[in-house]
Amino acid sequence: MTRSWLVALLSGSLFGAGLALGGMVDPARVRGFLDIFGDWDPTLAFVMGGAVIVMAIAWRIQARMAQPLIGTTFALPDRTDLTPRLIGGAALFGTGWGIAGLCPGPGFAALVIEPAKAAVFVMAMLAGMLIFRLMDPSHKALQE
C-alpha cells in the first residue's frame, strides 16, 4: 500500500487540472450551465461527457481485472437501494451547488485561483460534513 498515495496524488492532480481546464473552477461557468432558462452555457455538458466516456471504458477494463494495480482488492460501492436519504442529500447538495457554483472538487482546486473565498467555501463545507457526522447516529467511528 505504500505507493497508493502516489497514485492518489497523481489522480488528484489530473483531476484538478481537468477541473481548471474544463472551466469548473469558475462559478460563473458552472452557474451558467445550470441556468437553462436564461443564458445557458453548455460547456459543462462537454466536461461531464468527456469524463463519463473515459470512465465507462475504465469500468469495462475493471470488470476484467482480478485486483487493482496497487493493493489487493477493489473497494467499490455495492448498494442499489434508492432511499429518501440519497435523494434528500442530493437535493441539499444541488441547492448549495446552485447558490455559489461550487462543488467539492472545484472548491479545493480554486484554493490556488481565489484563495480566501475558496477557503471560506471549503471550511463551511467541512463544517457541514462535521455537523452531519455529529447528528448522524449511524456514523462509523474513526478508525486509526
Partner: protein, 148 residues
C-alpha cells in the same frame, strides 16, 4: 466555437472532462477506489472513518489545487468570478451536509457512478442537477446576483 453559444468552450470542456475521466480511471484501476471528492475529503479531514488510507486521501486532496495551479501557469491564468462570503458559507454548509447524506457529489455520483450505470448515482445526479437548476432559476427570478 459552438453555434448559438458564443461563450461556450466545448473543446476545453471536453479536454478537461477527459482529464477528469483519466484521473478517476487511475484511481479505479490503480488503487481500486472511487474518485469521489466529497468522500475522500471527509476521510482526509477525519470526518469519515470509511475509505482509503488517510495518506492517500490527503494526497488526492492536495493534488486538486496542484493540478489547477499547473493549468493556471501553463495557460497564463484562469478567469473566475466567485460569490460573496455569505453565499459561500451557506453554499458550503449545504454542499457539506448534502454530500454526506447523499453519499457523494458530482465526481462520485456524476462521473464514476453514472458511467457505471449505477441506479443510485443516476438518481442522485438527476436530483442535484434539478436542484441546482431550480436554485439558479429562483435566484435569477428574485434578482439575486451572487457573483462578483
Amino acid at each position: 466555437m459552438l453555434p448559438g453559444f458564443p461563450d461556450a468552450a466545448p473543446l476545453a470542456g471536453l479536454l478537461g472532462g477527459v482529464l477528469i475521466g483519466l484521473a478517476a480511471a487511475l484511481m479505479l484501476l490503480g488503487a481500486g477506489r472511487i474518485a469521489g471528492v466529497s468522500g475522500i475529503a471527509a476521510r482526509a479531514f477525519g470526518i469519515s472513518g470509511d475509505g482509503m488510507p488517510r495518506s492517500g486521501a490527503w494526497a488526492f486532496v492536495v493534488g486538486l489545487p496542484l493540478g489547477a495551479l499547473l493549468v493556471a501557469w501553463t495557460t497564463g491564468g484562469i478567469e473566475a468570478s466567485f460569490a460573496g462570503y455569505l453565499p459561500l458559507v451557506a453554499a458550503g454548509l449545504l454542499v457539506g451536509i448534502g454530500t454526506r447524506i447523499g453519499s457523494g457529489c458530482t465526481s462520485g455520483h456524476g462521473v464514476c457512478g453514472v458511467s457505471r450505470l449505477s441506479q443510485r448515482s443516476i438518481v442522485a445526479t438527476a436530483t442535484f442537477m434539478a436542484a441546482g437548476i431550480a436554485t439558479v432559476a429562483i435566484m435569477n427570478a428574485l434578482g439575486l446576483e451572487v457573483l462578483s
